[in-house]
């Protein structure tokens, strides 16, 4: 049961944290020019959006859950399962960020998921 809770924290909460970063950047606006000043100003504005801090908190929780899970589970089992975060990320993109994920992108995400699992298993 503890394992399941930790997996949920790592995959759902970890990806949820990244999605919050995405939401923050969506609310902040777009990087218009490739200049250090423009990038710094955009990031400074992003730091004042609440989603950034919610995201950082969630990612921190997921990180410590990963450390805890790795203390009693094999890396070769834990890490490939976390490849599921690509699917969770796409679902979050649709429902939380309002993105349109078409069939082609789904196929790509599925292939990335399989590829990441193979890379991690093949270590």
């Amino acid at each position: 049961m503890l394992e399941f809770v930790l997996f949920v924290l790592i995959i759902v909460v970890g990806t949820g944290g990244e999605l919050c970063l995405g939401r923050a950047m969506q609310e902040t606006g777009e990087l218009e020019r490739f200049r250090p000043g423009a990038a710094a100003s955009l990031l400074w504005r992003a730091l004042r959006v609440k989603w950034i801090w919610i995201g950082v908190g969630m990612m921190t929780l997921a990180f410590f859950s990963l450390l805890l899970l790795l203390s009693f589970e094999e890396v070769s089992f834990v890490v490939p399962v976390t490849a599921l975060s690509y699917f969770v990320g796409a679902l979050g993109g649709i429902f939380f960020l309002g993105e349109r994920v078409d069939r082609q992108r789904w196929i790509g995400i599925g292939l990335v998921c399989i590829g990441v699992t193979l890379v991690l298993v093949g270590k």
Partner: protein, 156 residues
């Protein structure tokens, strides 16, 4: 306009897939050089602390990871999360190629297959539009999809 958006997205993802793996590699190397962490006695912990933060490798690693997170946030400002997140998996390929070329590590055939599958997947994602949502900073003169939908609703 679209090609500019794509170019910005590719450059930022390019920075991510290089800076992220390099940062992780350098941190791992730096921590190994520092030796095993002992929490007791306190003097031992302080010694390790001084060795970790006195290491140039660790600092370059931290700088690389900061570069990664900055590029990630900027990439999310121009493109979809569902576009950037899987595309960043190319970093697994970068780390394997770096390990093979620089550190002369042996890469198992299964790992090469995995990298090829990731590249294939990213090629699929690349063919989709990087951004399918409206941004807060979009040009006010050009009505966004949301604005058009709102205008439709109020007209009815």
């Amino acid at each position: 306009m679209h090609s500019r958006l794509r170019l910005k997205t590719y450059i930022l993802i390019g920075i991510m897939i290089v800076a992220g793996p390099i940062g992780n590699l350098l941190l791992a190397k730096g921590m190994k050089q520092a030796g095993q962490v002992k929490f007791w006695p306190a003097s031992e912990l302080l010694l390790i602390f001084a060795r970790v933060f006195g290491s140039l490798t660790i600092w370059i690693g931290i700088a690389s990871l900061i570069t990664f997170i900055v590029a990630y946030m900027l990439a999310l400002s121009v493109a979809d999360y569902s576009y950037v997140q899987p595309a960043a998996a190319l970093g697994y390929g970068v780390i394997a190629v770096l390990g093979y070329l620089v550190l002369h590590e042996t890469i198992s055939p299964l790992r090469w297959v995995g990298i090829a599958v990731i590249c294939f997947g990213v090629a699929f994602i690349r063919n989709t539009h990087p951004r399918t949502t409206d941004k807060a900073g979009d040009d006010a003169a050009a009505p966004t999809a949301k604005q058009l939908a709102t205008a439709d609703r109020s007209a009815n």
